[in-house]
Amino acid sequence: MTGLLFPLAGLLAAALLWAAGAGWMESTTPVASAFAPMATAEALQALLLGSDLWAHVAFSLQRVAVGLAIALALGIPLGVLTGLSPLFSTATTPLFQFARMISPLSWMPIAVMVLGVGDAPVYFLLAFAAVWPILLNTAAGVSQLDANWLLLARSLSATRIETLLSVVLPGITAHILTGVRLAIGIIWIVLVPAEMLGVSEGLGYFILDARDRLAYSDLMAAILVIGFLGYLLDHAARSLHRRWLHA
C-alpha cells in the first residue's frame, strides 16, 4: 500500500501545481483555461472514447516498432563485430561516438530531401537515434562474455554457428535488452518532433493539428497520452529484461 502512496502523492502534487499554474495564467491569458486539468480531462475522455486518437497512437507505435526493428537489424551485427574485432572497434569507435552525439533531428532536412516526404524519413530518424545504444550495449555484452563459456563451447568442439547461437547471442541478450530499453526511450522522445514534418498521422502530427485547430485541451490530453505510453513502453522493456535474467 505504501508502495503506491508516495508515487500517487507525487502525481497529485503535480496536478495541483498544474491547476494552480493554469488558474494563475488565466487572469492574464484567458485561453489558459483550456490547459487546466479539468478541461484536459474532459478532452481526454472524449478522445479516448472516439477513434481518432487511437488511430494516431497506432501509427506512432507502428513507427516505433519499425524504427526499433531497423536499429536492431543494424545495431546487433555491428555491435557483435565491434565486440569481436579489436581492429574494427578501433577503426569505428571515434566515428560512432561522433555520430551518436549528433541530434537525430538535425538530419531531418537532409532525410526529407533524400528519402522524400512520408514515413521513410521518420523511420530513418528513429532508427538513427536508436541504433547507438543498441550497438554500444551489444559490443559491451560481447566483450563481457564469460571467457569460460567460450572455453566450454570449444571443449565441446562447437562449430562457429553453434557458438554464436548457443553462447554468444543468448549471452549478450541481457545487454541487448538494456540497449533496447534505452533505445525505446530515445525513440519515443524523437518520435513526436519527427512526426511534425511531412506526415499526417501520429501523435506528433496530432499535437500540431490540435494547435492549428486551437484545441488546446486536446493538445494537453495528447501530452498526457504521450507520457503515459512512454511510461508503458519503458515498463515493458524493463520487465522483458528482468524476465530474461530470471532475477
Binding site: 564469460d146 572455453l151 566450454l152 571443449s155 565441446l156 568442439s157 562447437a158 562449430t159 530470471h246
Partner: protein, 268 residues
C-alpha cells in the same frame, strides 16, 4: 596380445602405458611475445587416476591444463588421448572451472546437458542423453532442482551443477582448474568428497589443479608439483593413504610436510 596393447600399437607404433587415458610428451608453450610459460613437461594420467597438479601462482598450471585439454596447441611436444594424437578437445574429456560458469538463461537440466547434441559430439539418442543428464544431476545431489535457473542456486549448488555438467559427458578424463577455491571451507570439504565419490562411480580420471596442499592430499592418488620459470614438473608423490584420509591424520601431516619442503625448495 591383449586388446589394450593392440590398441596402443595400432595407435601409432609407440608403446604407451596400456591404461593411460592421457599421455603428454615434451610439452612446451609460449604466449605470443610473453615468453615461455612451461617447457619439457611430460605427464601421463592412467585410467581412473586422480592427479593433483600443485604449484605456486602464475607458474603455468592453467595454461598446462588448457594444453592438455586440447584447448591450446603446444609449441613442442604431443598430447595423446586414449592413444590417439589429440588435435582438438576430446569428446570424452570435460572441464570444470573455478567459477561455475553456468549459462544463466538455461534451466539447471539444460545447463547440465549443454552441448551434448552439438554436431561434433558422438551421436546419441534424445532419451539416452536425457538419462545421462538425469544421472549426473542425481549424482551431484540436485535431483528436484532441474527447473531452477542459475540465479536461483547458491554458490555451492552452482558448482555442483558445474560438476554435473562435466559428468553428463561421461568423461574418461575430467580437467578441473581450482574448482573449489571460491567456496567456503565447509562446502569445499563436501565438494571434495563428492568429487572423489562421483569420479569413482563414473570411472573417470581427474586432473585437478589446486593451490591447496590439503585438498591435493585428501583427493589425489598422485600429486605432481610444478614450479620454476619457465614452469616444469619438479617432483611427484603417490598418495597411498587409505580413504577416508581424514582418518589418517599422521600420514596426511607427514606428506604435507614433505610437499611443503619441496615447495620451498622449488620457489626460493
Amino acid at each position: 596380445m591383449n586388446a589394450a596393447l593392440a590398441e596402443a600399437v595400432i595407435a601409432g607404433g609407440r608403446p604407451v602405458a596400456a591404461e593411460a587415458v592421457l599421455d603428454a610428451r615434451g610439452l612446451s608453450f609460449a604466449h605470443a611475445g610473453a615468453g615461455t610459460v612451461f617447457d619439457g613437461i611430460s605427464l601421463s594420467i592412467r585410467r581412473r587416476e586422480i592427479v593433483a597438479l600443485l604449484g605456486s601462482s602464475g607458474c603455468g598450471k592453467s595454461t598446462l591444463l588448457r594444453v592438455l585439454a586440447g584447448l591450446e596447441t603446444p609449441a613442442t611436444g604431443e598430447v595423446r588421448f586414449l592413444g590417439q594424437p589429440q588435435a582438438e578437445p576430446h569428446p570424452r574429456s570435460a572441464l570444470v572451472f573455478q567459477q561455475p560458469s553456468l549459462l544463466p538463461w538455461l534451466k539447471l537440466a539444460d545447463n547440465v546437458g549443454f552441448g551434448l547434441d552439438f554436431a561434433h559430439q558422438p551421436r546419441a539418442g534424445k532419451a539416452a542423453l536425457a538419462a545421462r543428464v538425469a544421472a549426473a544431476i542425481e549424482a551431484v545431489g540436485l535431483a528436484g532442482r532441474e527447473g531452477a535457473y542459475p540465479a536461483q542456486l547458491s554458490g555451492g549448488m552452482a558448482q555442483r551443477a558445474a560438476l554435473g555438467r562435466a559428468l553428463a559427458r561421461e568423461p574418461e578424463l575430467l580437467f578441473a582448474d581450482e574448482p573449489f577455491s571460491a567456496l567456503d571451507a565447509i562446502t569445499r570439504a563436501e565438494m571434495q568428497a563428492l568429487l572423489v565419490d562421483v569420479v569413482h562411480r563414473w570411472h573417470s580420471a581427474v586432473l585437478l589443479v589446486t593451490h591447496d596442499i590439503d585438498e591435493a592430499i585428501l583427493v589425489a592418488d598422485r600429486i605432481v608439483l610444478m614450479g620454476g620459470r619457465p614452469g616444469h614438473l619438479v617432483q611427484e608423490w603417490s598418495v597411498d593413504i587409505p580413504r577416508d584420509r581424514e582418518d589418517h591424520p599422521d600420514a596426511v601431516a607427514e606428506l604435507r610436510l614433505a610437499i611443503l619442503a619441496a615447495l620451498r625448495h622449488a620457489s626460493p
